[in-house]
Amino acid sequence: MTRNSNAYIKPELMACCGAREIKDNNVVIVGTGFPAMSANIAKHTHAPNCILMQESGVVDARPKRPALSVGDPCLNPGAAMVGNLLDIMGMFLQAGWVDIGFLSGSQVDKFGNINTTCIGNYENPKSRLPGSGGANPIGALAKKTLIIALHDKKHLAEKVDFMTTPGYIDGPGARERWGLPADTGPECIITNKAVLKFDKETGEAFLESCHPGSTVEEVLENTPWELKVSGDVHETEPPTEEELRVLHEILDPHHMIAIYEKRGYI
């Protein structure tokens, strides 16, 4: 590959933003694409002992090709444990062992609630989406959830059409009222323009940093609610040399992550 070793594309920056949220020894539920990339960047840099798992039943896989689904055959040989949905979603997630979960959706609102069920009315949807799958329990039960979203007025929303997965629901105290475990909930929304963090007091997302090339004004313009801005809003730290080396040389030599550019992550 003949990429400039300092050059990076937006999905790579976003993956690095996710990676930085992962601490060493964290247990991380990943899907495919971004989450897997983020977790693997962490594992190859500052968090060598983090454990990745897929909801289908896999712990600490050693795939020889990028997994294209959480049930991909390449996740089987070499894993530390291959069990089932009840092991991952029940024995590990529900029992409180999962530190980090990644989520994405067709709509994400200011409280970090996510819609993967339908656009429009539930009974007569304009567009029927896949449904919760593992998203709702991950959003409900992982200690931190990291949300990936496209930054525009279609994918961000003041209020989701259908709340498939809980963020802070309708604001302060709502998770506690509903009996969700203490100290869980969305940590940030990583978009293609910015990183939004959550104010744990209000449950609302606020602008923490803008990616290089994006401005606060641009971000506010593309956010469908009145986005609060951190007092020390700053530029998102670009990928480090080490992060890029790991990405380019080990994790994604064929630059498959570029597919996210086609999906609008630019």
């Binding site: 689904s69 089932n84 997630l93 529900q94 009996g179």
Partner: protein, 311 residues
């Protein structure tokens, strides 16, 4: 008791219109040979369930055989949304199915409850979201919120599911029906054991002596099993660990075909209705895509170390 029979006979004898079916699989080991047979025999009015449904559920819905779906998710994976599922829910083509929505935690727990004789099971997800606001055919019994009698905390209970029939595909089974599986499990073990009857489709039938060499691999015992069918390549275009890879190209073909009603009908004609059984399917596959493609899907050689149960 020897329960070996053809998939045709198994579906004909043990699946009835109106049945509630658990269909195992998770890209890994979908029982496609049996699913195609259900379509050929037009067993309709079905209620179907599994966590993370995929092309197999989409196909049954498109074929008009599904009345109700107890689900968590339905997609074609990297190929996006389920086309037949969308047409059913957005446009009532061929008819609008009823959907009861849960999650990949709650639904497996409900199947586990069914398998273990529990009337219901507490779960910690779903609360606070619209998944509690939408109820379909299960009505008020979709879930119940109680204050825990232990600590007073709000606790969500979901009911046990007990399908009439479970259909699973595994690596091997003996003639009695003891079914052995390894690799990604999904909700296959819970779902199979929750059902009143189990149809076991497998890559190979082995002797009872082979089962006994490694009995910890058995996920369903013979006394729950009503039929054993040997269907090599039976999970294609899904995969079976140790036997063959997932066929991404074929998945793309299904997506393209199911984009249109006509395409879907042609796909069913070519791969289901004009096909007699899994042997004919495999032969058609090889004829159409070439033996090399077929060969390429076959699993490599990477065996585990044997273990001993001796004393």
């Amino acid at each position: 008791m020897n329960k070996v029979m053809s998939t045709k006979d198994a579906i004909s004898k043990f699946v009835n219109p109106g049945d509630f079916l658990f269909i195992g699989g998770y890209i890994c080991r979908p029982p496609f040979a049996a699913i195609h047979e259900i379509i050929r025999q037009r067993k309709n009015d079905l209620t179907i369930t599994r966590s993370n449904a995929a092309d197999d559920f989409d196909m049954l819905i498109g074929a008009g055989l599904v009345k109700r779906f107890i689900g968590t998710f339905l997609s074609l994976g990297i190929y996006g949304l389920g086309r037949c599922y969308r047409r059913s829910l957005e446009k009532s083509i061929p008819h609008k199915i009823e959907v009861e929505e849960y999650t990949n935690l709650s639904l497996p727990m409900m199947l586990m409850a069914g398998a273990m004789g529990m009337p219901f099971v507490p779960v910690k997800d779903m609360v606070g979201t619209d998944l509690l606001n939408v109820k379909s055919f299960m009505g008020e019994n979709k879930y119940k919120m109680i204050d825990s009698p232990f600590d007073g905390k709000p606790t969500l209970l979901v009911p046990a599911l007990k399908p009439d029939v479970a259909i699973i595909h595994v690596q091997q089974a003996d003639e009695d029906g003891n079914a052995q599986m390894w690799g990604i499990g999904g909700d296959c073990r819970a779902g199979a054991n929750a059902a009143g009857k189990v149809i076991v489709s497998c890559e190979r039938i082995v002797s009872r002596e082979i089962t006994g060499k490694d009995p910890s691999r058995t996920i369903v015992p013979s006394f729950k099993v009503v039929a054993v069918t040997e269907e090599p390549f039976g999970a294609h275009p899904g995969y079976t660990p140790g036997f063959y890879d997932v066929d991404f190209g074929f998945g793309y073909q299904y997506q393209q075909a199911s984009n249109s009603l006509e395409g879907f009908d042609n796909f069913l004609k070519e791969w289901v209705f004009d096909i007699q059984d899994r042997k004919a399917y495999t032969q058609h596959y090889i004829k159409k895509f070439g033996y090399e493609m077929f060969r390429k899907l076959q699993a490599g050689f990477d065996y585990s170390y044997p273990v001993s149960y001796a004393y």
